[in-house]
């Protein structure tokens, strides 16, 4: 418990002073996206890593948050701070309602159903042109403002997004180590045993599905207000898959793993930028190699690697 708190405090301090340590500029902008993706990866991880339920449609909830925020603030002149929770509540309720029938499905049927859900949402973004602007997107979404500060620069957005991201991390860490988190993991390990002990697996799954959707929606709203422009292409099937990859590469069932996965997959294209058309090949190859050599994800693979290196050093030192 104490360790957890210490780790989180350390992580927060690191995040807080990162802008001072780094040269700023474009990197700040990338780090803003690392924050948003971390939130999304944690949301999916709650579902996949803790409750063991796959979703191939999470980009849809992300998009719903972004579009609801965008539409409410542009067409209906809502204050962004009001639009954000409204969007989250609406998305949460939708996920809750769809969750009951959809979470009855198991394994690849669930994968397929969530995939279908994501595609349906995507098509709706594309087709309801009057509301969403269709494929050409929705522009002119206002920045968030707080106490006279408008969050319109990368550094300001960095603090805004990471404030939310840290809150989501703390929220999820607490949840994981609570009766609900334990019940979720229990359902994952043996659903029937958990039920016999009085855990309402179905309700719990729906709750966590809804919670996951709410966090995704929040990330979507923040995305909309920092980008000020959104278009359906950002919320398609590919992004759902990318989120899944972040969670698995980072480490299932680990909040810090989600951060590592999100950071790696967001920074990787930046690092590979010089490789031009070869970047897609390197990216694909890296995914394979990562899963092959770090099957437990970065969060378990890095310490193992570290131990290995230390051990080797020790051995050569003695010899």
């Amino acid at each position: 418990m104490k360790q957890n708190l210490l780790l989180f405090t350390g992580f927060s301090i690191l995040i807080m002073f990162a802008p001072q340590l780094l040269s700023g500029g474009y990197l700040m902008n990338v780090l803003v996206f690392v924050g948003i993706n971390t939130m999304l990866a944690i949301a999916l991880n709650l579902l996949l890593g803790y409750a063991g339920q796959i979703s191939l449609g999470h980009a849809g909830f992300f998009g719903l948050g972004a579009y609801l925020s965008g539409i409410l603030t542009t067409a209906y002149r809502f204050n962004p701070w009001v639009a954000m929770p409204v969007a989250a509540v609406v998305v949460g309720c939708m996920a809750g309602m769809i969750g009951f029938p959809i979470l009855k499905l198991k394994g690849h049927y669930l994968a397929m159903a969530t995939l279908g859900l994501g595609i349906i949402i995507f098509i709706v973004f594309n087709e309801t042109v009057e509301l969403t602007g269709g494929p050409s997107g929705l522009s002119g979404i206002p920045n968030l403002q707080l106490a006279g500060i408008s969050f319109d620069s990368d550094v300001k957005n960095y603090y805004l997004i990471w404030g939310f991201t840290l809150a989501v991390m703390l929220f999820s860490l607490n949840l994981a180590n609570s009766r609900i988190g334990r019940a979720l993991r229990a359902v994952h390990d043996s659903e029937v045993a958990a039920q016999v002990l009085g855990v309402n697996a179905r309700l719990l799954k729906v709750q966590i599905f809804a919670m996951s959707a709410v966090i995704s929606s929040l990330a979507g709203s923040l995305y909309a207000h920092t980008m000020t422009f959104i278009s359906p292409a950002s919320f398609g099937f590919n992004f759902s898959i990318e989120l899944l990859t972040m969670v698995v590469i980072g480490g299932l069932g680990s909040v810090y793993g989600s951060f590592l996965g999100a950071a790696l997959l967001t920074l990787l294209p930046e690092i590979l930028r010089g490789a031009n058309d070869y970047d897609i090949i390197i990216y694909g190859g890296l995914l394979i190699v990562m899963v092959m050599f770090m099957p437990g994800g970065l969060v378990r693979g890095i310490p193992a690697l570290y131990r290995k290196v230390i051990k080797q050093k020790g051995e050569t030192g003695h010899a």
Partner: protein, 293 residues
């Protein structure tokens, strides 16, 4: 609403659906033998089409030689993929396997982009493109090719899985991999076999649609997705129910586009699929099996 319009929608749907079915069967074969949902399945469809193009244009082979050549090369890619990426995996959890196949799919697509560029290409139809009238509707000779080849492949599948030793062994693996291993079936070989069969089938699907739909390095994504859906509607079977799954999807899309709204046609297809799954969570053709505790 005229009858010949409905007929045209249905015919169009069936010919698109047959392709989904072929790709879907490829998904099912690998899934049954290995438990893997192979997200790289669509890439073999792409390889089939583009390799045929290269055989025709660079090697100047006639079509009858280009097709087996392209299928063979795609199969080699499938074997390499299984050998280099799937087999060495230390913790083959289902989710890790999913990520591996996603990685593989990106990798293969990237390589194809380098080899063939980003342009769309087309290959000539097998036997001309003079439309054939059926009732008030028309189809192309290529559609007949598609239906015939789909049919042949299903028959070959049936014979293989029910009347050959290795086919039966593969079915045994799909029921229970551990038990199959215990009775002396070389499970890893069956895994390899499943990749050979399904990459070859994917390639065939890619070749026979290319004259109609054209082909490019990125066609595998969408076709793979639809094939995946067909397989799931069919309950991940490697036989007729996946074919029906594919046809249902194809016809739903076509009718949706024609009768309701072309913009929402994929959404309509997916909504109907979701409803089917809500009513029958074990799949359209799956049998309800109770959990054993």
């Amino acid at each position: 609403m005229q009858f010949d319009q409905i007929l045209q929608y249905t015919l169009s749907g069936i010919s698109t659906g047959a392709i989904y079915a072929l790709i879907g069967i490829g998904f099912s074969i690998i899934y049954n033998a290995t438990g893997i949902i192979n997200f790289a399945q669509g890439e073999f469809v792409m390889l089939g089409g583009l390799l045929t193009l290269s055989c025709l244009e660079l090697l100047n082979l006639p079509l009858w030689a280009a097709v087996p050549c392209a299928v063979a090369v795609s199969t080699v890619v499938g074997v390499l993929f299984e050998r280099l990426a799937i087999r060495p995996l230390r913790q083959p959890t289902p989710i890790n396997l999913v990520i591996i196949t996603i990685g593989g799919s990106i990798l293969i697509r990237g390589l194809a982009m380098l080899v063939w560029g980003k342009d769309t290409h087309t290959i000539p139809p097998f036997s001309g493109d003079t439309p054939i009238a059926i009732g008030g509707a028309t189809i192309l000779p290529q559609h007949l090719w598609i239906l015939a080849i789909t049919l042949i492949i299903i028959v070959i599948n049936k014979i293989y899985f029910y009347h050959t030793i290795s086919g039966k062994a593969m079915r045994a693996c799909s029921y229970n991999r551990r038990a199959a291993g215990l009775v002396g079936i070389d499970v890893r070989r069956m895994v390899l076999f499943s990749f050979i069969i399904s990459s070859a089938m994917g390639a065939v699907a890619g070749i026979i649609v290319a004259p109609l739909t054209m082909t490019a390095y990125d066609v595998g994504v969408m076709l793979g997705l639809k094939g995946f859906c067909a397989a799931i509607i069919g309950g991940m079977s490697s036989g007729i129910s996946t074919v029906i799954g594919g046809l249902i999807l194809g016809v739903l899309e076509s009718l949706g586009a024609g009768l309701i709204s072309s913009g929402y046609k994929d959404a309509i297809a997916f909504i109907i699929l979701l409803l089917i799954m809500f009513i029958r969570p074990q799949g359209l053709f799956g049998k309800a099996d109770s959990e054993r505790v």
